[in-house]
Amino acid sequence: MMNEIAVMLFTPLIAGILAWIINVKGIRETIGVLGALVPFALLVKEYSTVVNNLYNPPTYQLTVSGFNITFKLGTLNWYFAAVASLVGVAMAFGMISTSRNSYDWLFAMMSYTGVLGVFLSWDFVSFFLLWELMTFASFMMVLKRNRHESLKYFVLSVIGAYAMLLAIALIYAKTGALNFDDIRHAMYLDAIMGGMSKSETILIFALFLTAFGVKAGAWPLHVWAPGAYSENDQSYTAFFSGALSKAGAYGFLLLYILMMVKLYYVMGPFHGHLTFAYIIAWIGAITVVVASFLAVLQEDIRKLFAYSSIGQVGYILLAFGVGTWMGFAGGLFHVLSHAVFKGLFWLVTAAIILQTGKTRFEDFGGLAEKMPITFAMSLIAVLSLAGIPPMAGFASKWLIYEAAIQAHMPLVAGAIFLGSALAFAYVVRFLYAVWFGQRPSDLEDVQEAPLPLLIGMAILAIPNVVFGVAPGLVTKYINKVLSYMLFLFGERKVDVSIVTGSYYKLVTPTGTYNALTVTLMLVVGLAIAGLIYIYGAKARRIPVTNTYQSGNPVTEDYNLSIRRNFYRPLAEALEFWLKYSFDRFYERLAGIAEDFADWLREGFYNGNVQAYSWYLAIVLLILALWGVL
């Protein structure tokens, strides 16, 4: 049993290294896919063990550098790991088509191991180590393609890593523990005894917020994400955005598990909510709104989905921040749905870029005829993302919405609503601008996406539909996760059942969602629409360009169409807010740091030995004053 955790963890890494060393086309890809499949298969195999040993999960321990390292496969860990490996498998298939070098395989598989490791770790040493491995590998993926973006990602990651390290150090200093169980116990005791001061607790909280926030791409630490997601192999981005960024979300859950009581004792309640959770919820809400607005304004499909990803992870944070069981349930469900629909989106994007070489809206049009399967996949993704039943995305969003309403957080709920509206706005544009309308002449020869990529898409498309139609499959398992979490919070072995109902029907205290009914209605509706389309009056074909100018005269530089500057009026309306870019703020900060560095270097090490002697004299003087006074 124990070895299986190790095998599951390190197979991708070893496969990546082998692929890198062997580097023969075909073998490389085979090894990679096998390496991606093994953890998934093992996780599937372990499912029953995990579920049956809810309160005594499989554990794996070893000692490194005097630290005891623990891996655990609780229901929570299994859930995240399973989602990650599902996306990992899809990524591997996608990469067969999109990536043609061993470098990518090495680091993609390395980050796969890192992500799995983060989810399975049950102590801060292995957690941090694998966190760093994951960061490093993903950084290498960005570095290969864009230096500037990689630097941004690198710096923010390093800041996050060091913030986490400091937080871990503080916890270790106060509790002497690095194992999650030990920390949990110690923090629980500490909450009662009050050993750790208020400021220290808040500092730890803030540090973790920074560390996890960076990885999750939470506002205002999101600035690395658009570049890193878009300047990458898009198959890998499916994993990056779909699985890797979940590590940040997972970190927030960890925060609850490790120190909820302590944080509550220290920070207290705020209008009936946990203050610390409220902060998380708001970070999530702001992230949703900001990222969704920015996504709407993008002209590049990669950028669009990058911002969209940020916004969707914001939903998860928001859900976790609600701090109720319902919130957790919604957040956890959204982890899955976001992974599958955003993963799918990125694979679709990968296919589009692979086949057309273009990334900007203005260069697309009418691809639905050329890449029908890809189009179908993207339709599923669009529906899911936009939160249209009966896709997985709807189920999770619905749960989150319910949670926010239940928790009496109308503003947060408003953010969800606004986010959904904006999401609708940008996916509609994507749907139309890319797939419909006039096809630019240079896209006439576009072929359907290659098979491996299509397989990858299918791997992600199927759960979108299955878990959309039968969300109960997920919620049933999520109940087990919540039970485990409850056990972790309070050592109580009680089966939690937050979302009830059947496989096709979700029942919460405030509402019911019957996916089956909705599906049936949708099928009927689509059938009617199809009949109308086929037998209805033929519409006159008009050019899609120059049809929409928002009341402005048409000029060369004020030329709006669905393919170009479609949402420019919105941008103009938001002009005041867009001036404040954290991206630019950080760049300026970096500039100031560099200027400071030069000033310090030139000023202190000024080359004059007499000045240097003065430094010595000043230290002596300080010593003297210290002694004299």
């Binding site: 490194v64 570095l143 230096r147 710096v155 060091y162 500092l203 270097r601 002694g627």
Partner: protein, 495 residues
């Protein structure tokens, strides 16, 4: 074999240095080969001493002249000294090989002598158990360092050496005043004896003496703002010597500082001094990292990086806890390996491509792939990337620092480490993603050393357990003063 034979650690480099004039007529190759041979033998002796100390678990006390301390001077080769003397010897051995390629400036016989004496000085500083003898070995080390800094005889080299001399001179003068005060207050110079008597010292004399001794050593240990000489000296010295400076010369100063701090822990004003060292060490890290950020000369950049790491070690050593010292020693070992590798590779690039400016490193991944790879491993390790050795010691230092209540220092150090990550990344990027060039045949011996060091970095990074166990013993050696005193065979003197 009799433990007294550990005195060969001192005797061998000395007699070998004195022998050089007699073989200088045989030419450059002979002298360089001789240098390699002697450092190899020294490594052997150090290895024997190391295994002796670690297998018996007891320090070797070398009593010069057969006099028991405090009447005679003793060497105290405990767990720390045994470990570090070995490191000194190994690094010297590697750098002797490197010198064969790297040092062409005449007079080579003088270079060999100074090289051996630099090794001797650091060995003595680490091994000695007498505070004035420490001063002597410190001067041997620093005067050799002055000479070697200026060895290239360029204006810059002389300038760097001059700065080193002036600052080192002030430092050693005040150190000696401190020694005089401590001697005046205790009547003895033996460290164990001083530790015994520290509590009975006159309070003001102890306070001033302690402060001055630490001040003097802090100059050698490159603590801000007493380290202004260091970047110049590192930059100007011949490449192998720079590696030695960073790998063990500064470590000897750090160790001496730590040793004296704990020896005098019963002295008046002790905790104040500790706080001051912590403050200076933190500033050292911050200032050095920022100074390295926009540095165009890679050798100088790594020099600043070295200073910052040294600041981190000083921070750990001054925490006043067992955990801190063990972490500090751990970092000393790791840093020695990493900086030896970095200066070796950077120096090799310098002599092969005509300089150590960042421009020289463009396209290095294509021109000298092995050098570039090992340099990359060293850089990643220096940044503290997990699975490389420095990560573990850095984590240990941070844990110990926060545990000792210096969270803000740790936060500052971490903040500065972000800067470090950036400039190393720039270097790595330049090597692999900027520029192009002809493939150059890389030197075999240097390649082997570089690979060995890089492998060591990775092996320790992946499996740090054994080293950690080892350095904990070494840390114990510094921290547990009662134990130290009990091992020094002090004879009763006085009425």
């Amino acid at each position: 074999m009799n433990g007294q034979y550990a005195s060969l650690l001192i005797a061998l480099p000395l007699i070998s240095a004195f022998f050089v004039p007699l073989i200088k007529g045989l030419g450059r190759k002979a002298v360089m080969g001789y240098l390699v041979l002697i450092t190899a033998i020294q490594t052997g002796i150090a290895g024997w001493v190391f295994s002796e100390v670690y297998s018996t678990g007891k320090p070797i006390i070398v009593m010069a002249g057969g006099w028991k301390p405090p009447v005679g001077i003793n060497l105290y080769i405990g767990h720390f000294a045994a470990l570090f003397v070995l490191i000194v010897a190994i690094v010297s051995f590697f750098m002797a090989i490197f010198s064969y390629k790297a040092v062409t400036v005449e007079p080579i016989d003088k270079y060999a002598m100074l090289f051996l004496l630099l090794m001797l000085g650091a060995t003595g500083m680490i091994a000695t158990g007498d505070i004035f003898n420490l001063f002597v070995f410190m001067e041997i080390t620093s005067i050799t360092a002055y000479a070697l800094t200026a060895y290239n005889k360029t204006g810059e080299a002389a300038e760097a050496s001059m700065k080193y001399i002036v600052l080192g001179g002030i430092g050693s003068s005040f150190f000696l005043i401190g020694v005089a005060l401590i001697y005046g207050a205790t009547g003895t110079l033996n460290m164990g004896h001083i530790a015994q008597l520290a509590g009975t010292m006159n309070a003001t004399a102890a306070q001033v003496g302690l402060a001055l001794v630490i001040f003097g050593l802090a100059v050698e240990a490159e603590l801000f703002p007493l380290n202004a000489w260091a970047p110049d000296a590192y930059q100007a010295a011949p490449h192998p010597i720079t590696a030695m400076f960073s790998a063990f010369v500064v470590k000897a100063g750090l160790y001496a500082m730590a040793r004296l701090i704990y020896i005098l822990q019963n002295a008046n004003g002790w905790s104040d001094i500790l706080k001051l060292v912590i403050a200076l060490a933190t500033l050292t890290v911050v200032v050095a990292e920022f100074s390295a950020l926009r540095q165009r000369d890679v050798k100088r950049m790594i020099a600043y990086s070295s200073i910052s790491q040294v600041g981190m070690i000083a921070f750990a050593l001054a925490l006043g806890t067992q955990a801190g010292i063990s972490a500090g020693v751990f970092h000393m070992v790791n840093h020695a390996i990493v900086k030896a590798l970095l200066f070796l590779t950077v120096g090799y690039v310098g002599i092969t491509l005509g300089g150590t400016k960042i421009e020289n490193f463009a396209g290095l991944g294509k021109r000298m792939p092995l050098t570039a790879l090992t340099l990359t491993i060293g850089s990643l390790a220096a940044v503290g990337i997990p699975l490389f050795n420095i990560f573990w010691s850095k984590v240990r230092i941070l844990l110990a620092g926060v545990e000792a209540g210096y969270s803000w220092s740790v936060a500052l150090i971490l903040g500065a480490s972000v800067v470090e990550a950036v400039y190393y990344l720039r270097l790595i990027h330049t090597m692999w993603f900027v520029g192009n060039g002809e493939r150059i045949r890389e030197n075999f011996a240097i390649g082997v050393i570089a690979i060995f060091l890089a492998a060591l970095i990775v092996v320790i990074g992946i499996y740090p357990n054994d080293l950690w166990t080892l350095v904990q013993k070494a840390g114990q050696d510094i921290f547990n003063v009662a134990n130290y005193i009990s091992h020094v065979p002090l004879m009763g003197v006085g009425s």
